[in-house]
């Protein structure tokens, strides 16, 4: 049936011309952050691509990730991709409910054993399975059962990738990331709160196009989208380099669009594609609208020591900050910049002095 058709055949069936297909491929290559020279390779790979079966599991989450993905107006590249995959189970989007819904999941697993993709949004509670269940099945059991026959798992959003907000201190549900429970399958972390829609579909498209998982960074994120820091691709970067900073949200610097580092911007330690892919059909991204980056695509961003404290202010967890710094340095040479910058901005320490209380909080862990 439709499932066994290649993507090209599916598109032809819909009366879509070869020229339209090439346009689709050009936009797809751009979406996957591939160089334009790869467009012919994308075209020939997509011609052969088969519709993969996708099982989408939603655990401890706010549905923001699904909202993000479905917020694109159809028909879009994303829309076409979803025509091109077979979304066999997604309890928020599917029409079936109860036993019929669970039967769809089991059937998809049996039919495509070893080849289907599992997409997970939300973290998994381990303190007490009762915190989150679907059809009476605990999140942990459903994940372990569904993962057995999966070709790969895509953890969509910071909750599935790193535990996210449920994992924030004091983590009452004992929330963990997918990678804490599954160790024998390839896992792609598409972090962000929520992730950029084109990044979610870009990763699905990569799998669809090449049948492989993309190159990943040390945190399991696709390098095509998470290879560079927000800071490195930020259009306000020239102001950082010149030492021109907004000191408050309504001062002269803020009005002139200067760097938001001193207002707590986590751009230098945050790896994501917001600065180039942007949000809401490319309209803007947080820094463009005058707000510092929260670092939502990094592990434990909620416990990072304050959204409005500059990165150079010690957090209560100094060890973790050093790890961030080292990771950033290895990937993009940011650590050195941050160190140099720390010298320049010694004066700013006066705005957020570290108190004995702050240090004691760190010891109390």
């Amino acid at each position: 049936m439709a499932k066994h058709k290649s993507l090209l055949e599916t598109l032809q069936h819909q009366g879509i011309s070869r020229r339209s297909f090439l346009k689709f491929c050009a936009s797809t290559a751009s979406l996957m952050a591939l160089p334009p020279a790869m467009i012919p390779a994308v075209a020939s790979a997509l011609e052969q691509a088969r519709r993969p079966s996708v099982i989408w599991l939603s655990f401890q989450e706010c549905t923001g990730c699904t909202e993000s993905l479905t917020r694109s107006h159809s028909p879009t590249v994303e829309g076409l991709i979803f025509d091109a995959i077979s979304l066999d189970y997604h309890h928020t989007l599917q029409a079936a409910s109860g036993h019929a819904a669970e039967a769809a999941r089991t059937a998809a697993m049996e039919e495509n054993y070893g080849n289907y993709l599992v997409v997970v949004d939300g973290s998994i509670p381990t303190a007490n399975p009762g915190y989150s269940t679907i059809a009476g099945i605990s999140n942990r059991d459903m994940l372990l059962e569904t993962a057995t026959g999966a070709a790969a798992i895509i953890s969509v959003g910071s909750c599935a990738a790193f535990g996210g907000i449920p994992h924030a201190k004091p983590n009452p549900t004992g929330a963990v990331a997918v990678s804490d429970l599954i160790t024998d399958k390839p896992i792609i972390n598409v972090s962000g709160c929520p992730p950029i829609p084109v990044v979610i579909s870009g990763v699905l498209t990569h799998f669809l196009t090449f049948g492989t998982i993309p190159a990943l960074d040390a945190l399991g994120r696709p390098k095509a989208f998470f290879g560079q820091s927000i800071h490195d691709r930020c259009y306000r970067r020239p102001f950082y380099d010149k030492g021109l900073f907004a000191e408050s949200f309504d001062d002269e610097g803020a009005k002139k669009g200067w760097c938001l580092y001193k207002l707590g911007c986590k751009g230098p330690t945050t790896f994501n594609a917001c600065a180039t892919a942007k949000w809401n059909s490319g309209t803007s991204f947080p820094i463009q609208s005058g707000h510092p980056c929260l670092g939502c695509s990094e592990p434990d961003f909620w416990d990072g020591g304050g959204f409005y404290k500059p990165l150079s202010t010690p957090t209560e967890d100094i060890a973790a900050t050093l790890v961030y710094g080292a990771a950033a340095g290895a990937a993009a040479g940011v650590a050195l910049g941050t160190l140099n910058h720390a010298r320049k901005t010694r004066a700013q320490q006066a705005h957020a002095p570290v108190t004995v209380d702050d240090l004691e909080k760190g010891d109390g862990q």
Partner: protein, 133 residues
Amino acid sequence: MGSATPVDGDCGSGAVRTGNVLPLLHEIRHALQRWLDAGEPAMIDLRSIPMAPGEEDELVSLLGEGEVHARLSALGPSDIYETRFPGVWLVTHYNDNEEIMSRFIEVIDMPSILKSQTEDIRDGQERLAAQLR
């Protein structure tokens, strides 16, 4: 709601510059030289380059409009025009809601997307033949 909605998503956009417009123009100049020397086409994906609000418009207006302007209707419209520098094309692909899906600068004698594709020609020939039968 589409991209035409007048949303002012920018804060303090007036003075911000990445300085990426000039290097891009030089990249285009080099690409033109390569096309003249070796017939090697080039394509620049504008989505992958950081631009401050207004800088892309500045680039587009610097490139200007030349002699050719084509509009596709293929999965939504696409605008393709030659800039005032022959061989430098601006290709913008939209979806049905006129939202930009991708935007490229192509350095070539004619963007390949404008050419009729063999598969489409074959399909058209069959349809014409069927109509005449």
